[in-house]
């Protein structure tokens, strides 16, 4: 047996597929719609959530026996908010350029329901190591969907990937654009993110037997 027991390994791999936070639990949809117009922003958001969820789960797990149940949601909120503010301030002081790019996303993390969802559903009932793995697993599961959605939205909406033009120049009509292809501006709007997420759910459900429900 390596570093992780089978049960522990499942904590990381489950959210990746069978129990994906976005496509199965349908958590964190708000940010999946808001920031996936651009691949870069999505990657940044995925990394930020990875950090906050990993650390936050551990903190909540360590505090799980002393948190009064009546105010546990508020306590969870304070833990997320504190972590986010610490990250924001430290970045502003030591990585100013990066903090400019992250800008609004850092604040958005507080409202990400995946984080509260994992605190409430997992960290409050499990030890720190397992909570940490659960946090990492869910953040990766979330990040993967975010990056897939952003890949298609940026490619079809702006004709770029990570800001680099990959389909030619739409104004000068070079590359693919010389054939009459046009960017689909609709891809940049939030409704199309929902449709892309929907398509991912459809593909995932049709291929994974465990997820097919009996009628």
């Amino acid at each position: 047996m390596g570093l992780l027991s089978k049960k522990d390994a499942a904590l990381i791999t489950d959210p990746f597929a069978d129990n994906n936070p976005i496509t199965i639990q349908v958590l964190g949809i708000c940010s999946a719609l808001a920031i996936t117009a651009e691949l870069k922003a999505s990657i940044v958001m995925a990394i930020s959530v990875l950090f906050v969820l990993g650390v936050g789960n551990v903190v909540i797990s360590l505090m799980r026996n002393i948190i009064p149940s009546k105010i546990r949601i508020i306590v969870q909120l304070i833990v997320v908010a504190t972590l986010v503010i610490i990250v924001d301030q430290v970045l502003k002081a030591f990585a100013y350029e990066l903090s400019k790019t992250l800008g609004a996303f850092i604040g958005l993390i507080i409202t990400n329901c995946i984080i509260m969802g994992r605190f409430e559903a997992f960290a409050l009932a499990n030890g720190p190591w397992r909570s940490f793995l659960d946090g990492i697993g869910n953040a990766v599961g979330y990040g993967v969907i975010l990056i897939i959605v952003a890949f298609f939205r940026e490619l079809l909406g702006s004709g770029t990937l990570l800001g680099f033009p990959v389909l030619g120049d739409p104004i000068e009509k070079t590359g693919l654009y010389s054939t009459g292809y046009e960017n689909n501006g609709f891809m940049l709007l939030a409704p199309m993110a929902l449709i892309v997420v929907g398509i991912i759910i459809w593909i995932q459900r049709s291929r994974n037997e465990a997820l097919i429900e009996e009628n």
Partner: protein, 262 residues
């Protein structure tokens, strides 16, 4: 079975304790990092101002500022004067140069004037200080003005570099929280570069530059149409940029008119 942590007293004490601990951590962090953060902001202002007069390290496609360690030196090399126009009820009542301003304001440099605070002061009917930076590069004189307005979600701002006839020589825009991939693109080269060469005046009168969706000139060949091409999907941000250009730069028109007669 009721647990110890369920009692009201415990809950209250826990809440108070948590607030104290978290409050202390954050207050300590914020006050110890503030000088570093302020310094970063000061450097950024210098970089932005230089960018608007074309002093930057742009490569083919992306906007790159003069590097952090060089910017202090470059700033005072290129920016030869920092004027402050004092405006009351829409009229310039006083013009100060850098020395005069600094003598009056605890040696604070005019480029550190907080545009947002000045806008609020003007709204309350007080005097507003309008900074204008004069730069010299390759024998040309640039006039750089800071502007600030509202985008879709939050503030948008920028610096516009002009020549004596109010023809744009360079522009830098930034935003606090516009939508990634849409409104946030105002700080990308393809958008900012469109402003270079655009006229802010039309037949001698100030007209501003409109971010236009019905622009018949997407390649931006006509520089005297007072329009640049909008970003698809970022209508409100674009309108915000048009509005701040119009309302903020209009305040400098009387200054530019005095330049012509000299």
């Amino acid at each position: 079975m009721s647990k110890r942590t369920d009692s009201n007293l415990y809950t209250m004490l826990f809440a108070i304790g948590m607030v104290l601990v978290v409050g202390t951590i954050l207050a300590f962090l914020a006050s110890s990092l503030k000088p570093t953060i302020d310094e970063n902001k000061r450097i950024e202002k210098q970089q932005n101002i230089l960018y608007a007069m074309g002093v930057n390290e742009n490569d083919e496609s992306s906007a790159i500022f003069v590097s952090k360690d060089k910017v202090g030196e470059e700033f005072f090399k290129y920016i030869t004067e920092q004027l402050v126009l004092v405006v009351e009820n829409g009229k310039v009542v006083q013009q100060q140069n850098r020395e005069e301003y600094m003598a009056e304001n605890n040696n604070q440099e005019p480029y550190l004037i907080d545009v947002k605070k000045q806008q609020t002061a003007a709204k309350e009917g007080k005097k507003r200080k309008l900074p204008l930076f004069v730069g010299e590069k390759d024998g040309k004189t640039f006039y750089i003005a800071p502007i600030r307005g509202k985008g879709l979600w939050d503030a948008v701002w920028g610096y516009v570099g002009m020549d004596a006839n109010m023809v744009v020589q360079g522009a830098y825009f930034d935003h606090k929280g516009e939508t990634a991939g849409l409104g946030a693109n105002i700080k990308l080269r393809f958008f900012m570069d469109d402003f270079i060469g655009e006229h802010l005046k039309k037949e001698g009168d100030f007209k501003g530059i409109t971010i236009s969706k019905s622009n018949n000139d997407p390649k931006n060949i006509d520089k005297t149409d007072n329009e640049v091409d909008a970003i698809a999907g970022a209508t409100i941000t674009g309108d915000g940029v048009s509005a701040m250009i119009k309302s903020e730069l209009r305040k400098y028109v009387s200054f530019f008119n005095t330049l012509k007669t000299n």
